[in-house]
């Protein structure tokens, strides 16, 4: 890992990614302790104000400070994205590693299942899932997590299969070690870099998905601000206050761009030959 720092110092894309991600996470954390105004402070007399010194990004249709809502929206995106990818990754990696270790019918069954998930129109199924379970941030997380499972399962399976044919793993098998032990000791640590890179990209995809779902009203519920929900409200007022539709979208784009650049950068730095899955 010695050369990593030196190479990272020369990789501009990676650095831009780090800065954007830091801005994203920093905003989300800051919003926990401070926002210019309370996010749910309605002020009907000062609705749809343009940007000013008092309200740097203006106010929305209920007179709430847009900057404050963008800040808390970062928190919503971050939380939904992290938990959804975390969930999908835990299940997907476990299943992928199992398939690689066992092969045979387990492998066949899991690959049919992942074909199944990939064959569904993702947006429609996510809408169906949130309709079945009710619209909420939690159920949006679940819907996004489900589509992350096969992504991680495939990547893990592919990378793990390659590991199982390596000499040091074969040696462990010859010594009679249990498959679970080998997977945990030898396989997973050696494929961690693939998983980290894939997770970064999936995080970006998850933020886009969360924004789409909450744009349709199926994500975090009001008055909790979410970037997609703010866009949905803004579109109604596009004739009176067009700039309302700019800020949340810019926030989404910057967060996703940061993660994408970080992911590509990490791939270049860790292992340029990695093949990533891009879904959605």
């Amino acid at each position: 890992m010695n050369g990593f720092g030196a190479r990272a110092a020369r990789h501009i894309g990676f650095q831009v990614g780090v800065v954007l991600l830091a801005l994203f996470v920093g905003t989300a954390l800051l919003s926990l302790v401070w926002t210019p105004y309370a996010v749910d402070a309605l002020q009907m007399r000062s609705k749809l104000l343009p940007a000013s010194a008092e309200h740097l990004l203006g106010t929305d249709h209920l007179g709430r400070d847009v900057l404050s809502r963008i800040m808390v929206g970062a928190r919503t995106s971050l939380a939904v994205g992290l938990i959804a990818v975390g969930l999908g990754m835990s299940v997907g990696v476990a299943l992928g590693a199992w398939a690689a270790a066992r092969g045979g019918w387990v492998d066949e069954m899991l690959s049919r299942a992942s074909d199944l998930v990939f064959a569904f129109p993702a947006v429609l199924i996510a809408i169906l899932i949130t309709s079945v379970l009710g619209a909420s941030a939690g159920n949006a997380i679940l819907a996004i997590a489900i589509f992350n499972v096969p992504v991680f399962a495939r990547v893990t399976r592919g990378a793990a299969l390659a590991m199982w044919s390596r000499d040091f793993v074969r040696a462990a098998v010859a010594l009679g070690r249990a498959p679970v032990g080998i997977t945990l000791r030898h396989v997973l640590p050696n494929i961690a870099s693939v998983l980290i890179v894939q997770a970064t990209i999936q995080f970006a995809v998850a933020i886009l998905a969360e924004a789409g779902l909450s744009y349709l009203g199926l994500g975090a519920q009001p008055p909790t601000p979410s970037w997609g929900g703010m866009l949905r409200d803004a579109q109604t007022y596009i004739f009176q206050a067009p700039e309302l539709a700019i800020w949340p979208g810019l926030a989404i784009a910057m967060a996703v761009l940061g993660l994408n650049m970080l992911g590509d950068g990490l791939r270049d730095l860790l292992d340029p030959r990695l093949r990533l899955l891009r879904v959605g």
Binding site: A113, F120, A122, L124, I127, L128, A245, A253, L257, M261
Partner: protein, 315 residues
């Protein structure tokens, strides 16, 4: 080869059968009573029960599942609960919006992405290559529905060149119908442009490293001849494949864009049907999309098997 393809075909069929079970189950557990939706808040319990019996909602799940599958096998999608009209007609009407939209988006994406990818590969490693790669990075990061809203702001609200949304209908006003598909198609194509540009660029760079290209160069062929005459033709194989995959996605994935631009497409049909609990429409459209995706995947496999002489490694 035959064996490989028949194995893929069987796998796809197994996936399809599983999909029908999953879709049926999900649609059945949708909360909300379709009879109550139809009869509203003044409905009496006895009228609700009578209506449920009329539509067969009171029959056992297995009976209804096989009834549906039987219909599918006879290409009979049944009738919509809400409209009373055949589901096939509803889907047909909406495809008249969604297919041109997807076609426009794909055409536009190819029109922009292929030259851009070639350009980047040609200027490989130079500033303009970096510029193109930066653009593709931004392209896949911008949510397409927000890009749609921004396009509306610029071209519909400020300049008023294009309609901000809605669809007059081909029969009423064909030119303006076409016009109202332009912004959505552009919005929908942004991320596809980014992906196709990347694919074109890297495929071209890959082929430029191949021996026959080196040979052509060594023989003294001009850089233009090498690029367009030899490399591009081969690089178009992966580009076509990805374009095929994208086509499937564009038809099924346009829900949010259709919602931004209020286009009465297939995505909106499903979305509205979910909101109306029009179960017959939901399950049939979702299954048709699934068949579409599986068919595209099979075609891609077939294309690879035919075009790529190297032995196939299953993913």
């Amino acid at each position: 080869m035959i064996e490989f393809l028949s194995r893929r075909l069987v796998a796809a069929l197994v996936t399809l059968v599983l999909a029908t079970v999953v879709v049926f189950a999900v649609v059945e557990v949708l909360p909300g009573d379709p009879a109550l939706v139809m009869l509203g808040t003044d409905a009496r319990p006895d009228t609700l029960a009578a209506l449920r019996a009329q539509y067969g909602f009171d029959q056992p799940l297995s009976v209804r599942y096989f009834h549906w599958i039987g219909g599918l096998l006879r290409f009979d999608l049944g009738a919509s609960h809400a409209y009373g009209t055949p589901v096939a007609k509803l889907i047909g009407d909406r495809l008249a919006v969604t297919l041109p939209l997807a076609g426009l988006a794909l055409g536009w994406a190819l029109l922009v992405a292929v030259p851009l990818g070639v350009f980047a590969a040609w200027r490989h490693g130079r500033a303009s290559d970096w510029g193109v790669r930066g653009f593709t990075q931004i392209g896949i990061s911008i949510p397409n529905f927000w890009f749609g809203i921004v396009l509306v702001l610029i071209f519909a609200v400020t300049w008023q060149i294009f309609p901000a949304g809605g669809f007059p209908g081909w029969a009423q006003d064909a030119p303006r119908s076409l016009l109202s598909l332009v912004l959505p198609a552009v919005a929908l194509s942004l991320s596809e442009i980014a992906i196709l540009t990347r694919v074109t660029r890297s495929a071209l760079l890959d082929t430029l490293r191949e021996d026959y290209v080196r040979t052509a160069r060594a023989k003294g062929a001009s850089e233009g001849r090498v690029l367009f005459g030899h490399a591009l033709r081969n690089a178009l194989i992966p580009v076509t494949t990805v374009a095929g995959l994208i086509a499937g996605f564009l038809v099924a994935g346009a829900v949010i864009i259709e919602s931004v631009f209020r286009l009465p497409g297939v995505g909106q049909l499903v979305y509205d049907s979910i909101n109306n609990r029009d179960l017959a429409v939901i399950k049939n459209v979702v299954i048709l999309f699934t068949i579409l995706v599986l068919a595209v995947n099979l075609l891609v496999d077939l294309a690879y098997a035919l075009l790529d002489p190297r032995p196939r490694v299953t993913a």
